[in-house]
Symmetry: C2
Subunit: 249 residues, 2 copies
Amino acid sequence: MDKTKNHGAGQLGTSKVAEPVSLGSVPVANAVARSLRERIQSNVLQPGEWLREARLCREFGVGRSVARRALRILGEDGLVDIEENRGARVSATTVEEVFDLYEIRAALYGLAVRVACMRASDAEIANYLADIDQLLEAAGEEQPAERIIALSEKIFSAMAGHASADAQKMISSVRRKTRFHYSYVALAINAQAAGPYEHWRKVRAALVARDAEQASQSARNILYFMQGEVARIMLSRGSRPLASAAAAP
Amino acid sequence: MDKTKNHGAGQLGTSKVAEPVSLGSVPVANAVARSLRERIQSNVLQPGEWLREARLCREFGVGRSVARRALRILGEDGLVDIEENRGARVSATTVEEVFDLYEIRAALYGLAVRVACMRASDAEIANYLADIDQLLEAAGEEQPAERIIALSEKIFSAMAGHASADAQKMISSVRRKTRFHYSYVALAINAQAAGPYEHWRKVRAALVARDAEQASQSARNILYFMQGEVARIMLSRGSRPLASAAAAP
DNA sequence: CTCAAGAAAATATTCAACAATAATGATCAT
DNA sequence: ATGATCATTATTGTTGAATATTTTCTTGAG
């Protein structure tokens, strides 16, 4: 092929090498994945569109191994659907999928809170209580939803530290996948003044009492609440994609 | 290197190509992984032993790509620990790890039962009730523990069918990892006459009432029960490895 | 119009070469 | 002798090309 024409619509990049791909010491595939991620989230690449390996090789000037690996990374993130022997295409996020993602989050965050309640030292529990107080305070001051999200995720992440390596891997996996829908979460939090705070208070009380089952149940309820709200918001907006919000820590 | 001497102790195989690796149409890496799996479970390869890529290449007569992939597969199954830039070694399964595995199983099976209770049709619920009756009946007849395990897993698998693709992937992943400890499960079931059957009855009742939270809670309790029993058995036996039992469906 | 056979296109797998990293051992100053 | 520094070596990580397999498209006969 020749030097290619890069003016047409639907092109992957605006120039042959779309990004410096400067990450020299870090695997190149990550850089390619990152670049594609941006274009998927900014809707330059539209849902359903095929991501051909050969095309990626040309556009990024890399071999098929890295193009292939980049697609797998995006597949893990849920940004592309990989069909066996057929290729990868930009995935359209449906309300159902986001809904189901919260089902998983509820199960795994419930696990995290349960083991934290059982295994954390008294000092660690005290820290969690302080964090929750901070969260409730921020909620009372009606601080931006992004801050609420960040605080919540920080608490859950810390608690997940008490879980096994396998569990932590699953949790960070599902967190990667939901990161791209936080804009909806923000809307949900802003829309509903009551919010999930009553559940947070119950988590707090259960931590004090070291009642792992109760803490876990209340944590799950936080996620079920968010599940309902996010689904409601997505449906009312016709579930069309939004620009992605700032990600959590 | 030359044709190699295959008589020494600590060799990976008894001949250069340890298994026909006949699976022509199926990825060769799976065959290699299967072969290694057997030798790990039969303790021919002992915990802590390094699995060198170059060695595997020689022993199985394959390229480094497939050796590498085989090790990754075993890593997913939890049979080897892969250390960055250092290699893969046969993992020693600790009681703590098995214990934590049941924590994950409880969370994910709880999810499966919850969504099944919410989403299954009346006919499907009826099937689940019948399956549970069959399980309870088998328990009453004191049938072999393997059968109890198989029936339980069958029910959970069917219910997991109502969950999202992501959730199903996680469930089958954790199932793969626990498959190798079913021998302990069998012992646990045989040792404890009461068993988890009271919890199963509660799951049944909750399904009838379509009470998803209660069904989920009772399902988790089944796993927490098994968690305690398996840990107890492993500790009492010094947690030394057992020959693996027949796997579930 | 339907269906089957073959050609074309795309992905899947494997390998071999090169790069980067961690372990080993030798050398030298103290 | 001891300890630190640095070259050497063994081992894994990464990548591009070659080959195999699968899917899709085309074409032509009935």
